[in-house]
């Protein structure tokens, strides 16, 4: 903490610092508060447990032969431990990941309001729009951390329990571990971006209430609802507009050449959600009376 404080010294050169420096000042504080919180650590640990449990379960049953079914990439794990990360992502994306992202995003403003710290941040004055931007950036950092935790925990447990080696991609090509590592990071980026739309929705809902649990639950329910709608074939005209529609498209990065189209489409979808719900959150929060 002390180190951070000192390195940020030039940020506030005069009493009235510029906006960017103030953003970073508050952002660093936000990250510290977020990751010093027991709940955040517990959620990351739970996410790390997903690939670990998968790997252990497969290791214990692999002698028995195993077989079809189960989530994507499951069958390949015994050949190459590096696939544990992918399986972990595929398992976590529909439920666990949105759940944790919903908790963090739903807590952003409503949590501060509930503690009463919101009024103190505002009279500091942190600046309402700046606070929203910082909160969204904090949620985005959590998305990235959550995804990376799954990927890294998966790679670690995979390497520990299974043979690892050159990876055979979905397209049939084989790439070295270095190439795979880059692809794994790209997948982590893809999944992180996938969660940003949901984060923006959570941020908006969070500005509507002072009850953080309500905002969290609503956000998670919306994530589930989007996926249910996405599973109904009769609604396929609606599917491209759902923020969850391309969540599982991260597997396209495991093709040679990489299918960038889904990366772009996903980024575009999420960007639209960020603009719409981020804008709504700003409009709402700018004029909101903070009484609690």
């Amino acid at each position: 903490m002390s180190l951070d404080d000192r390195t940020s010294a030039p940020a506030v050169a005069t009493g009235r610092s510029n906006s960017v420096a103030r953003f970073w000042n508050l952002f660093r504080s936000e990250i510290r508060v977020l990751f010093r919180r027991g709940r955040t650590i517990a959620m990351l640990a739970a996410l790390a447990a997903v690939p670990v449990l998968i790997a252990i379960a497969i290791r214990l049953s692999s002698s028995g032969g195993g077989g079809g079914g189960g989530p994507a990439f499951l069958a390949r794990i015994t050949e190459n431990g590096l696939f544990v990360s992918l399986t972990g992502l595929a398992v976590a994306i529909p439920l666990f990941l949105p759940l944790t992202v919903g908790v963090v995003a739903g807590d952003t403003i409503a949590g501060e309001a509930n503690l009463g710290t919101l009024r103190y941040l505002l009279i500091s004055p942190a600046g309402r729009i700046r606070l929203l931007l910082v909160k969204f950036a904090g949620a985005a950092v959590f998305c990235a951390a959550a995804t990376l935790v799954i990927v890294l925990a998966g790679a670690a447990i995979g390497a520990a329990l299974f043979p690892i080696g050159p990876v055979t991609l979905l397209s049939g090509d084989t790439v070295g571990i270095g190439d795979y590592a880059i692809r794994a990071l790209l997948m982590a980026a893809y999944v992180t971006i996938s969660m940003l739309g949901l984060s923006a929705i959570g941020l908006f809902i969070s500005t509507l209430t002072t009850v953080p649990v309500g905002a969290m639950a609503t956000t998670v329910v919306l994530a589930a609802l989007a996926q249910i709608l996405g599973a109904i074939p009769q609604l396929d005209w609606l599917h491209p507009f759902l923020f969850s529609d391309r969540w599982l498209g991260f597997a396209d990065i495991m093709r040679q050449p990489i299918a960038w189209q889904s990366f772009q489409d996903n980024t575009l979808t999420q960007a639209v959600y960020i603009v719409v719900f981020g804008g709504a959150a700003m409009l709402r929060f700018r004029s909101k009376d903070v009484l609690s």
């Binding site: 010294a9 506030v12 508060v33 010093r36 027991g38 009463g116 103190y120 500091s124 009376d289």
Partner: protein, 265 residues
């Protein structure tokens, strides 16, 4: 509303000579406040909470933050508990931590809502002397409180609000002085004392606080306290006690805002 947390339905607000909320970001760094009780992240230590608060403040220079946080904690006597988590703090400690938060940077104005709420007598006294010393150093301190004795001990000026309107304001002495002061005589010779007081222009109460007392209001027309005592003694009244009670702020407050539980309903 003063601090830009809620918007006003009508009227204009000026804080430190500038319009609010138009100049909010210019004014608020110079204002420290305690609003509706202190609030903290329960999972962070007192020190970390102040760090967090300071990083939101544009006037909070990062390079001096550690020193300023420590100073503020020492000022409110929380140095020993600075690294405990805030949820382990007692109500009084939270209150003091809240005060520390308002003192992180030099302020021109402090707005404190019930600053001694939840404090034990020592804490109340400490907070009072802290506030007095801050005021002495040139910071304007605006306290809102229901504890009128606190106000009497701390403040130079006061204003009385009733149902959202200011019904009186001014120097504390003027505010109290607007009503006449009272004398209370403790004596076994109640009847004689009453006659003397009446003769000197004091309108005595029908009911005294106690059976061996006579009380009455002193007005401009009546004699001064010294003469009253002399006359009482001269008249052969045994004076066991004599008190000039200035109108308390409480009496004045009740006179201004009404009596009973259903005031301002």
């Amino acid at each position: 509303m003063l601090l830009g947390l809620t918007s006003a339905t009508s009227g204009r607000i000026q804080l430190l000579g500038q319009a609010m909320p138009a100049h909010l970001s210019d004014i608020l760094p110079a204002v420290g406040a305690l609003v509706e009780g202190p609030a903290f992240y329960p999972f962070l230590s007192g020190r970390a909470n102040l760090h967090r608060l300071d990083s939101a403040d544009p006037g909070g220079r990062a390079e001096t933050r550690r020193a300023r946080v420590s100073d503020a904690l020492d000022r409110v006597g929380l140095g020993h508990a600075a690294d405990k988590r805030a949820h382990a703090y007692s109500l009084g400690m939270k209150q003091r931590l809240g005060l520390a938060g308002a003192l992180l940077t030099p302020r021109r104005l402090l707005i404190l809502d019930e600053p001694s709420n939840g404090l034990d007598p020592q804490g109340t006294r400490e907070v009072r002397s802290l506030i007095t010393s801050l005021a002495h150093d040139g910071t304007t301190v605006f306290v809102s409180s229901h504890l009128l004795s606190e106000i009497e001990q701390m403040c130079t000026h006061a204003a009385v609000m009733s149902a959202g309107r200011m019904v009186a304001s001014g120097r504390l002495d003027d505010l109290r002085g607007a009503a006449a002061s009272r004398v209370v005589v403790t004596t076994p010779d109640v009847e004689e004392a009453r006659q003397v007081l009446e003769r000197l222009g004091v309108s005595t109460d029908a009911m005294a606080p106690s059976i061996d007392q006579v009380a009455g209001a002193v007005t401009e027309a009546s004699a001064e306290a010294e003469r009253i005592v002399a006359e009482l003694v001269a008249a052969g009244v045994c004076v066991r006690g004599f008190e000039v009670a200035r109108t308390s702020l409480e009496d004045r407050f009740v006179a201004l805002t009404g009596e009973g539980f259903d005031v301002a309903r």
